[in-house]
């Protein structure tokens, strides 16, 4: 039985005990595991008893008083004292008396009654009649109006023409639509990252769009030559799969299937784009018979001056780093489209397969690395890194661009001798592609 399962049962027993069950009742819930669980549970309870001291009542009260004093309780009390009742009554009476006097004074200031409106109206009418009439500016006004009308007509024609031209434009290119989808998906991710809910309809719409674009991209040879577009779309699909896979919403089941198909199409496209003849990868160029050689050793090890070509989604490239002798070891760089890091040269990536084009590819989103009794799993999609040392699962890095890396002190505590190579591995980690952006 795994250590994690035993821990879970122990936590359940402790929680049940805290809720009032007796130890015997807690243990009876796990009859088959009792032999393993009981000593741990008893020890945990002993630890609770051993440290069950409570502070003295007098101390509790004194410290509470001091805390409240420090929080300003006494100051609040000092300022919250009530005024004398007699004072309140007198002040009220004075206020009312003053208000009455003010009202009388205000009445005294009312202006005299105004003249009836028709008296003023008659006066203004007579004044207007006495004034000379202004000259008519008819021709000028007409010309001005005419020119304005012409300008409006020209503007209307221009707008109509623009609308016509816009409506006649050819459909958007796949690359533009992928870019647009990337922006829309980024908005969804931002929303999710900030903890705000995203409507399932939106997810479905965007996954359908990604799927449609994958179909279009794979159907158009001219577009297929655009490796960056395929790579970008692949990254979006990866990210969408992560979101969809984590959601329990039944509406997303179809989206999940669509994405799987789309991923397959983009993968095929990527391998077509990255064929050995058109763009030789380091893995392919130095591996004459890849099917006969284990994955990790089938990969290329170019010289230190070689400029690495970009690694596409799903591919892995490894190369020896002669210049890196940290801790007196030789190191190999492992690079995927989203991350790169070093591992001791004696360690191996165990889950790489070499496809018919001679390119080393991953069979899942996890890179599995083994060596010196240590197993490391690195998630190439989200940057999470786990390790297994003497049967214990250690979390080395949490997922995400800004994932938290285990600190050195903690690493030494939990990883013992493997701490140094793991430390260098984590220090060398670089996120690229969609993880690095």
């Amino acid at each position: 039985m795994s250590r994690e399962r035993i821990d879970e049962m122990l936590q359940e027993c402790l929680a049940a005990y805290e809720h009032g069950l007796t130890p015997e009742e807690c243990l009876s819930a796990f009859p088959e595991q009792r032999a393993v669980l009981e000593p741990l549970f008893r020890q945990a309870l002993s630890l609770r008893f051993a440290f069950a001291n409570s502070p003295r009542q007098e101390y509790r009260q004194r410290t509470r008083e001091r805390l409240l004093f420090a929080a300003g309780r006494d100051v609040s009390h000092a300022y919250s004292s009530q005024p004398d009742e007699l004072f309140v009554e007198r002040a009220r009476r004075r206020l009312v008396a003053n208000a009455g006097a003010g009202a009388q004074e205000a009445l005294r200031n009312v202006p005299p009654p105004r003249l009836p409106f028709w008296v003023n109206a008659r006066r203004r009418l007579l004044e207007a009649a006495a004034m000379p009439r202004p000259r008519a500016a008819f021709p000028m006004a007409l010309a001005l109006r005419g020119s304005l009308s012409a300008a409006v007509v020209v503007l209307a024609i221009a707008v109509a023409g623009l609308a016509y031209l816009t409506s006649q434009t050819r459909p958007q290119g796949v690359s533009a639509e992928v870019a647009q989808l990337e922006v829309q998906w980024q908005e969804v991710q931002d929303q999710l990252a900030s903890g705000r809910p995203v409507q399932t309809d939106v997810i479905v719409e965007l996954t359908t769009k990604a799927s449609t674009l994958a179909t279009r991209l794979s159907a158009e040879p001219a577009q297929a030559a655009q490796a960056p577009v395929a790579e970008k779309l692949s990254a979006i699909i990866d990210s969408q799969q992560d979101v969809v896979n984590e959601s329990p919403a039944p509406e997303l089941v179809q989206a999940q299937q669509q994405l799987n198909q789309a991923e397959e199409k983009v993968r095929i496209l990527a391998s077509r784009v990255e064929s050995p003849t058109s763009q030789p990868s380091a893995a392919a160029s130095t591996t004459p018979e890849p099917t006969n050689t284990p994955a990790a050793t089938a990969t290329a090890r170019p010289g230190p001056t070689a400029t690495p070509a970009p690694v596409l989604t799903g591919q892995v490239r490894m190369r020896l780093l002669p210049g890196d002798t940290t801790y007196g070891l030789s190191w190999t760089e492992v690079r995927t489209s989203n991350m790169s890091f070093v591992i001791p040269a004696t360690w191996e990536v165990t889950n790489v397969v070499v496809n018919s084009s001679g390119i080393a590819t991953l069979d899942s989103s996890w890179l599995s690395i083994e060596g010196d009794g240590v197993a490391v799993l690195a998630n190439t999609r989200n940057g999470e890194i786990q390790s297994l040392i003497e049967g214990e699962r250690i979390e080395l890095r949490t997922e995400g661009k800004n994932g938290e890396v285990i600190d050195l002190e903690e690493l030494v505590q939990v990883a013992d001798e493997a701490a140094l190579p793991l430390r260098h591995m984590l220090a060398s980690l670089e996120l690229t592609g969609t993880l690095g952006n």
């Binding site: 008893f49 805390l67 409240l68 979390e395």
Partner: protein, 198 residues
């Protein structure tokens, strides 16, 4: 992920209490103290090993809590974890400042008397628990810290991880290793523990 979690309502009373205390409600502050004094005191006592120092430090921890309360953000870290982080820093700086060494502390009455009237058995029980505390003191720092937060202060794994700035899984590993080591340390005196070891 797509809708707010239902578990939030469970924390609503505590959240309200903290917000009221932040707004200057002294009753709420008093309740926060009442809810956490045992947790803080037990941690301080387990780390420092004597009542006098534990009392001094626990008081200081609550004053630090008061100073930091306006800046505390509910969303970032659970309150208990935040408070125990303060406690941890305070204990460390106190020990460094005073160079104190732990002394034996008497076990609380309620533990000593728990459901047993047989003096011999009670004595045996007291000795076993005292030995266990001594064994905890012998654990490596990281394991000891986890064991004390989990079992003396009664923090959950998640809160312990937040208080120590570690990953939850690593806290579980340290707890597991600590408990295994305690069994090893206790076995020479209590051989019956050996036969039960997993």
């Amino acid at each position: 992920m797509f809708s707010p979690g239902d578990g939030d309502s469970e924390w609503e009373p505590q959240r309200k209490l903290i917000e009221d205390a932040q707004a200057g409600d002294l009753d709420a502050l008093g309740s926060l103290y009442d809810n956490h004094i045992n947790q803080v005191y037990r941690y301080a006592l387990a780390r420092l090993g004597n009542v006098h120092d534990a009392e001094d430090v626990a008081e200081e921890i609550f004053l630090k809590m008061l100073a930091g309360l306006p800046n505390y953000q509910w969303r970032k870290v659970p309150f208990a974890a935040w408070l125990m982080r303060i406690a941890r820093n305070e204990v460390v700086s106190f020990a460094r400042r005073n160079g104190r060494r732990s002394q034996d502390t008497e076990l609380p009455e309620e533990v000593v008397d728990r459901g047993n009237n047989d003096p011999a058995e009670t004595t045996e029980r007291i000795m076993a628990l005292e030995d266990l505390r001594k064994a905890v003191a012998l654990l490596p720092e990281a394991q000891r810290e986890v064991i004390i937060l989990r079992f003396a202060s009664g923090l959950s794994v998640a809160d312990t991880a937040k208080a120590l700035g570690k990953q939850e899984n690593n806290v579980k590993v340290l707890q597991h290793k600590g408990m295994q080591r305690l069994q090893v340390l206790m076995t020479p005196k209590y051989p019956e523990l050996a036969k039960n070891r997993s």
